[in-house]
Subunit: 333 residues, 2 copies
């Protein structure tokens, strides 16, 4: 299996990108094609023991910055992001992974010069994220590809999410929730109420409306929403966890005995941190495009990049693109 990695993606590129590629090549036995500036990639690769690993470089001096507008996908035609997508388009790679500019990465896959395009029948691709919950994990989508949706988009997000967690996470009859502002049918904006009707009559295991409180609870396997509210929810979650940790640190620092207590409790806190560690998640799949596209956080470290490559590998092995293709044909919505 070959993964095309945008080696110029993360905030600290190419350091975590290259290190993550090395870790992934070793752990998963995959080829990772490093796309980017070889003058920066080669010295970084030289720091690692890469004997027996397949880590070819596709050189390009151009990269899309985090601060670039999504239009950079068109103006920077030979950027590492575009060339990595091109490898997938030309079947020289099985998947595209980046920790770069999210908007640009989606644009590269959907509308760039080497676009993969949408799977036939899919109206809008959706970006996903995996939320650690009290009992496991929940797939939330869309988290930013579509700020405005129609009922049938939400239905298709549910369909794609259901196929993904069934095939890649191995869940049977995944429980699908629709994000609303109340659990009863009839709650929410018109688009949500209309999507409720579509989901209710579908073959999916639709369990009804999800409320904001259901997102971290783990009572649903997939929660669908528009990319505006999904983006707010995910950024709020990240920030709130940090704020709470900050609050508790403040209070502990005021109290010498509490400081000793915190020292003793540190292994438990570290375990919590590991459980919530975004680098364990790695990256979210962009569902609905005709190819495997995984987008990670700009702040990714080597472990996050490695895990994003793992997510790509699982999606390729799960044959997720073909399953969505046949799933959407069957349902006809």
């Amino acid at each position: 299996m070959k993964i095309a990695l945008d080696a110029m993606g993360s905030d600290a590129h190419p350091v975590p990108d290259v290190s993550g590629a090395v870790l992934a090549a070793r752990e998963y036995g995959v080829t990772v094609i490093l796309v980017g500036d070889e003058n920066k990639i080669k010295p970084e690769l030289a720091k690692h023991d890469t004997r027996g690993l397949d880590l070819p470089i596709v050189h390009t001096p151009t990269a899309i910055a985090m601060t670039d507008h999504v239009d950079a996908v068109k103006s920077k035609k030979d950027s590492s992001m575009n060339l990595a997508v091109k490898l997938v388009r030309e079947k020289q790679a099985d998947a595209f992974v980046t920790a770069g500019n999210t908007g640009a990465a989606m644009a590269a896959a959907i509308a760039g010069p080497y676009l993969l395009g949408r799977i036939k029948g899919i109206k809008r691709p959706a970006l996903t994220t995996t939320i650690p919950t009290a009992t496991g994990r929940t797939l939330l989508l869309d988290i930013g590809a579509n700020t405005e949706v129609k009922p049938e988009y939400l239905y298709q997000f549910a369909l794609m999410g259901s196929i993904y967690v069934e095939k890649v996470w191995g869940l049977t009859r995944p429980r699908i929730g629709l994000l609303s502002n109340g659990e009863e049918e009839g709650k929410g904006p018109q688009v949500v109420r209309d999507a409720y009707a579509l989901l209710k009559q579908s073959k999916l295991n639709f369990v009804g409306n999800a409320e904001g409180r259901d997102i971290p609870k783990g009572t649903m396997d997939v929660i669908v929403c528009d990319g505006y509210v999904g983006n707010v929810a995910i950024k709020l979650s990240e920030s709130l966890a940090k704020t709470l940790v900050g609050f508790i640190k403040d209070e502990i620092k005021k109290r010498p005995l509490a400081m000793l207590g915190a020292l003793l409790a540190k292994p438990a806190v570290d375990a919590l941190r590991a459980r919530l560690d975004p680098s364990e998640v790695g990256g979210g799949i962009l569902l609905g495009v005709d190819g495997v596209v995984i987008i990670g956080h700009g702040s990714s470290d080597a472990k996050a990049i490695k895990n994003a490559i793992r997510v790509a590998k699982e999606a390729v092995e799960g044959n997720i693109v073909e399953l969505i293709r046949s799933g959407v044909t069957e349902t006809g919505i």
Copy 2:
């Protein structure tokens, strides 16, 4: 000052409602009119020392349940909620406070048989909540009165929120944010982009888009959004805080030394709990109605009811209804 309290509001009514009223009457020197079933209220009142306090009862046997549809406001015309609103309408009370069914409480104020109605010029009232932040607190609105909005509604939410935190919280030139899925102008659904333009040209101290991460940060004093995303955000916040506490408890229980540590750190954790205690907030004001309406959480305890009455008293003293009335006339939107 006279506060009309729906004594049948909270989940455990009338116990916390009556106790909270007694605490408020003593601490703030206000009259609290207890509206509800006197056969339940009187025995509860008898448990307290109420000498010197003014706690009259307005009897009605009917109450709206948490599980009732909002239409109950019309079918249960003589419910405690409606009669408490009626006292405000007839100027026999200065404010209405309830910890009951949120949808019904809003309906009672806006569309019930004794409705207070909207302030002239206000297109839609908005329900607020106060979020404890890293540096203080932020007013978030709307959190559920309007699942669908227009740009001018969002502008008016900002105007009302700005007036409220300026006059009631005492902030100068409060910083107003517009919830979106990116900080740059041009991010978000069309309605948000159009509201951005309105806010930018207004006299408000509009600081731009807020992202989900800004909600707990305290970098803005007021954040406006539609009631759908606001409701998701607030329920997610409450749930996530609980989930994180559950996670850390799990990890601590696995480790004897960590358990000792947690014991030593307990005062710090208690301080954090106090800082985040929803009963300190008490209730959120429904801005835009022609009268002071405060809606608390169904799970309110006596302290929460007391604080909801305090929020009502502050709004009456801040003359918030008249200030919004003149504010909306001035701006003409």
